[in-house]
Subunit: 261 residues, 2 copies
């Protein structure tokens, strides 16, 4: 299967995203609050609209699952998942760690991932079996777990959004007291590029985790999703622990993680 | 008192810091671990050396208190406090939120503060009574507390470094579940620029907090330090809650904060 063609296309999509971001970022973001009380801005919407148009034009038989505008032909062999802005709160509050996440699923399994941090000028992209590249440079396989592991975590709020997993948050902060809380896409990129050892995120949707799963595994890391649940509108959500294998095993062994039923 | 002269000098110091950072950042940072297990790099050391030389040359009667090279004439009327890199862990792990903190104390009270985030190209500087400027633009007075306050916190590790205040960390994550954990200087800048509402930091030294205290008060915010303690080497450390007045009052009222004896 020629995944390189899709990787080139994903990078074309990333260029278009950057153009929109550069046009809109300094203007009024028209911040609105969604039903789940999270923010959405004109940037989330414009980016996803653009990506959907491009995908439908280039690959009319492919499906799409996007955060803002839902599913289209999602039973197709190839399905693109789109999170136009992961970390919209960070975007709104001027923290430059937010990013755009694009993945390609084949038969429901991720085979390509792209995470682009426009405000940091950092883009990671990779395919199953084809390696991962950060700004064009091949990313090395992950090194062994460091003695004082660097751990990233979702906020307590994320752990309590669908089912209350607040205890999991607290267990994790006791196991790794020197934890940081950023946003999911920045945790993904940090793990992929070897800048963090372990991360634990909650309430992820398919458009959050698909790219991370393929990219992290491709650099020799582990990605374990657990506690799958279905929201009222039918959307499945997951918690996930990912990073260096020895770190993920340690979390799975020591923190009170309840597996999917 | 002509604080403008000192502000201009502080901005000269900031330019010199940026030069060192641009020279050294892409090279080997020679990362070492200090006695308290925190990191120090060649950047911390080179910046502080440069700042001390410049201060001694321009204001030989002034004192200096620096994170890396200690105290010099610290009973003087004017004393400069220097934190060459706040967030050295962030620097080491490629997270661009770290910064350089410079303050001027007069009779032990801060009258000038500068926080420079070289990797973000963001610098805030201000003086008591003279306003605060971010990249040259006057910073507005803080707006009222938002309905869903944005809160920044130190890691659990910071809360347990000298005396175990882990419960304070947990109380704060329950009161503000949507909390983020960055590094202290980024929390300061976010509060000053109106991008966050409340922050709670622990184990701060004078070179961490002096700039923040004057800058946050100058934009109409509140800065309350509490739980002063003295480390084995005689260095006083503080916890602090700061941000919008109504938010600080809420934290002081609801979270189990033990005041200084």
């Amino acid at each position: 299967m020629n995944l390189d063609e899709y990787k080139d296309f994903a990078l074309e999509l990333q260029s278009l995203c950057r153009e929109i971001i550069h046009q809109k970022l300094s203007k009024d973001l028209d911040i609105q609050t969604k039903a789940d009380k999270s923010f959405v801005t004109i940037l989330d919407q414009e980016i996803e609209k653009c990506l959907r148009q491009q995908i439908q034009k280039r690959y009319p038989s492919h499906g799409i699952i996007g955060e803002e505008f839902g599913e289209l032909n999602s039973d197709a062999e190839f399905v693109w998942t789109l999170d136009p802005v992961d970390g919209t709160e960070e975007l709104v509050y001027g923290v430059p760690l937010w990013g755009t996440i694009i993945a390609l699923l084949r038969n429901r399994k991720p085979v390509l991932g792209l995470i682009d941090h426009a405000a940091l000028d950092v883009c990671v992209v990779g395919t199953k079996g084809g390696g991962v590249f950060c700004n064009g440079n091949l990313v090395q396989q992950l090194s062994p777990l460091s003695e004082s592991p660097r751990c990233y975590l979702a906020s307590r709020h994320q752990f309590a959004r669908s089912v209350d997993e607040g205890e999991l948050f607290e267990d994790a902060t006791r196991l790794f007291p020197n934890v940081r809380i950023y946003c999911a896409c920045y945790a993904f990129t940090s793990i992929i590029c070897g800048n963090a050892d372990i991360a634990l995120e909650a309430n992820l949707k398919i458009w959050d985790l698909a790219a991370a799963e393929v990219l992290i595994k491709e650099v020799g890391g582990e990605f374990v999703s657990f506690a799958e649940r279905t929201l009222g509108d039918g959307t499945p959500v997951y918690s996930a622990v990912f990073g260096k294998k020895a770190g993920v095993e340690r979390v799975l062994g020591e923190v009170g993680i309840c597996s999917s039923p």
